[in-house]
Symmetry: C2
Subunit: 493 residues, 2 copies
């Protein structure tokens, strides 16, 4: 594989005798003092600004600009009308997509376990969420993917409500797929539902940039780009070999204004994008075009093997079964709750003794991420550690039985809204002790992050049950966002 065009051009300029009387301030002059700079010692020579012949991300030169070309190749590969490189994460894609699709005061159909950037977009754009509460996975307690029925039900109920009580009908649908835990939604069916109501579908495919690179899509799950979604946002840093903070957004709509989408994108994204980050996006896509299929097969074989080993050889540790097309091959959900061990404890064991660092853990399960960049070591070390821990548990516990029924949070079955989200977000608030908060209206997003599913959002009343559950999480050692030093933000009375 040859290196990316952007990288090569940066490298060539860095090595030339051209002198920079332009930003960045380091002037690529950090090699001489390389002992001083860790980061610039590595990338200083390829870190430039928008100079002559290096194109401009906010206004790419067609057809010979390097950024225009790279984004065009990306669009061609993903088979969409237009692709955008993002250097402010998927966050900036979500903000732009929602701003372009939903007018101020409009309604957005959204799963409760949406990423916080979706909630943020609704808050700053005065958008009213129409929540979908997908089914809960009984084994581990996480949200399954949203279904076409969930979407249809939500749109119908919101629209008929507005026929009776006035107000806006639903303007767009946003769906996360694959979810954080790897559940892949039937985007084809969902986009048909959305389009039958004449509204666009945004897919937060932050965890699914790799799907498109499988030659036999059915074996891995079909990318939303091939299922009729209007806008698809992918964190290339999450599942592809790209630097953190990089993402792409694909536009493929007849319903959404491309002009609007671009306008908002240029609002929310820096006017000084990092060329190394952009070069990193191009290289990740190039790599996947050449090696993606082979690496995905390797990933799948090893992943499926690992799940099977855990579930056949372990007594206490259990893993979420792999189901082709339903579960992503990269997300291993597992727990030792049959041994009375919480996610945080299991994750701590793996870190301290085996030096395995997980993506996240909640009370009832842990999540380990595997990608196309994992070699056999990744699977071997995880397998070895889990079998080892299970053996020790067997020695210690013998035939003891634990009550390990999964109890999802009360808020996962639906909260009341007493003040609209965006309004509550903007109201005066005060911080009070959590134990005194029952009966007050929440002014913050409260939840575990990751995974980021909020237990409470601004405008929802805090119940006794919420207080009890949050306290329990804190006592167990989890960090609960929205709670600082025992204080929670509530709306001033």
């Amino acid at each position: 594989m040859k290196k990316g065009n952007i990288y090569n051009k940066l490298n060539e300029y860095g090595r030339s005798d051209s002198y920079p009387y332009h930003m960045p301030g380091h002037k690529r002059n950090v090699d001489a003092e390389s002992g001083l700079f860790g980061v610039l010692g590595r990338i200083g020579d390829i870190d430039i600004t928008e100079i002559h012949d290096f194109d401009n991300l906010s206004d790419p030169d067609a057809p010979d600009g390097i950024l225009y070309k790279a984004q065009k190749e990306c669009a061609d590969f993903y088979d969409v009308k237009k692709s955008f490189y993002l250097v402010n994460g998927s966050t900036v894609g979500i903000l732009s997509a929602i701003s372009a699709c939903v007018p101020k005061g409009g309604k957005l159909c959204v799963a409760r376990n949406a990423h916080k950037s979706t909630y943020n977009a609704m808050c700053i754009r005065d958008i009213e969420p129409v929540y979908m509460y997908p089914h809960l996975n009984k084994q581990f307690g996480f949200f399954e993917a949203v279904t076409a029925e969930d979407v249809e039900k939500a749109i119908c109920s919101a629209n008929s409500d507005c026929e009776i009580n006035g107000g806006n009908s639903v303007a767009a649908v946003i769906v996360v797929s694959p979810t954080y835990e790897g559940r892949i939604a039937d985007i084809k069916a969902i986009s048909e539902v959305a389009h039958s109501y004449g509204i666009p579908l945004i897919v937060d495919e932050a965890h699914g940039a790799h799907l498109k690179f499988a030659k036999d899509a059915d074996k891995f799950g079909i990318s939303a780009c091939d299922c009729g979604a209007d806008i698809v946002i992918q964190s290339v840093h999450k599942t592809l070999p790209a630097p953190t903070q990089t993402a792409v957004m694909h536009f493929n709509s007849e319903l959404v204004s491309l002009d609007k989408l671009e306008k908002y994108l240029h609002v929310y994204q820096t006017s000084s994008p990092s060329y190394p980050l952009m070069a990193g996006i191009e290289e990740a896509i190039n790599y996947m075009k050449e090696f993606g299929q082979e690496r995905l097969e390797f990933l799948k074989n090893n992943f499926v093997g690992l799940v099977a080993t855990i579930n056949t050889q372990c007594k206490y540790i259990e893993a979420l079964d792999y189901r082709q097309g339903i579960q992503d091959v990269g997300k291993l959900v597992f727990s030792a709750k049959r041994a009375g061990i919480s996610g945080i404890e299991l994750s701590g064991m793996l870190r301290d003794k085996y030096h395995l660092e997980l993506e996240m853990c909640v009370k009832d399960y842990c999540l380990a991420m595997f990608t196309v960049c994992d070699a056999e070591e990744a699977f071997d070390r995880m397998k070895g550690a889990l079998l080892d821990i299970d053996r020790q548990l067997q020695e210690k516990l013998g035939n003891s039985k634990f009550d390990y029924s999964t109890k999802p949070l009360s808020s996962y079955s639906g909260n009341e809204t007493v003040i609209p989200l965006a309004k509550a977000w903007d109201m005066s608030s005060e911080r009070i002790f959590l134990e005194h908060a029952a009966g007050r209206v929440c002014a913050a997003f409260v939840g575990l992050y990751p995974p980021g599913t909020p237990m409470l959002v601004p405008g929802e009343p805090v119940s006794e049950e919420n207080v009890r559950e949050i306290m329990e999480y804190i006592t167990l050692g989890y960090e609960v966002t929205g709670i600082n030093e025992g204080l929670i933000k509530v709306i001033c009375q």
Copy 2:
């Protein structure tokens, strides 16, 4: 100088035997295939996500988190209440500051030559600009810094207008200092004016992160952090040795809600910030703490010497005089218009023959940036090239005289507004040929970028004069943003 804490910790983790079952997808496993990746081959091993013990930029761990500590040290040095690392450029600081200071529908006192992020913030927040048109520099035609009188006049006139006609009074003032051309405003006087009206002052100090590091501030210009500004935003990548896309925001206010500012910051900034970028900010500040004073003295001596040489030895080329405390030592404004040569021509000569790449050029002048990272080569090569060009011009032109009076754009003395900015930005628009646009209402930002001072903003009528001027720029070879293939966006009639 020892490397930054963040960098050292990343490096240590990268070298450990700890295995990452977390993002980013490259799994730091790119060394084995290092031939394939330019960018990740360089930073892959230090590029991580928010794992255990690495803190979280959206919610820093006090007091032992590395990001909390680094930002605290930054605040201590700049002598402000709180500092924020920004990885989405100064853009995200400007968006957050304006969102936190000005309510929707409110008024913001703003210089016409504000950065486009300021305009963008006003568009998405329904904010009405109260424009200040600073004096024009007669020699080159750029905007001088805003003065306290400009600010007082603008606030007074807007407030008395709202007393008569109703509406909101001015909610905040934003000022750019140093300007793109290096003009430093009297922020102390300006903040006194703003505070006398009980409103906060935001300073876009994108080009002034270095000022604070001078021991004798009067010799370089005083940082807005020391002049009573409420929020100060600095692009550390512009004047310090930090990677492109990095910036810091300082909060030092009694008038603005810190809570609100943080809330908006977390909306507009990625939830997956790049650790290498953050480490780069820390290293730039560490470097400046240790070497800043010495490097600033070096920069100043060489810069002043260069300006003097140009202005004493050149016949046709002229440079903006250096004035201590008024002009930044990093921005060399110069031109050869006395020889009838435009900025774009001069810039082209410097690039093609001498391999000197400038920051920007407009019709009447060029801008070269010098920073603390420039060695003598920077000054020698520029001096050599300009003297050489001037010599050739003398040989060629002898005693010819050219009419070189600077003619600022007509829009620089004020445009009419027929539709409020934010409303016009959001209205339906169409693209028509520029030559047919006179009489229509503009729907885009039209101007040269850089420097980014708009000739027209949404909601302003397009005049015959505007059309003529824009055509002239395009004919001269400049890229005018807002014009694509001869088409301009205007509001649908």
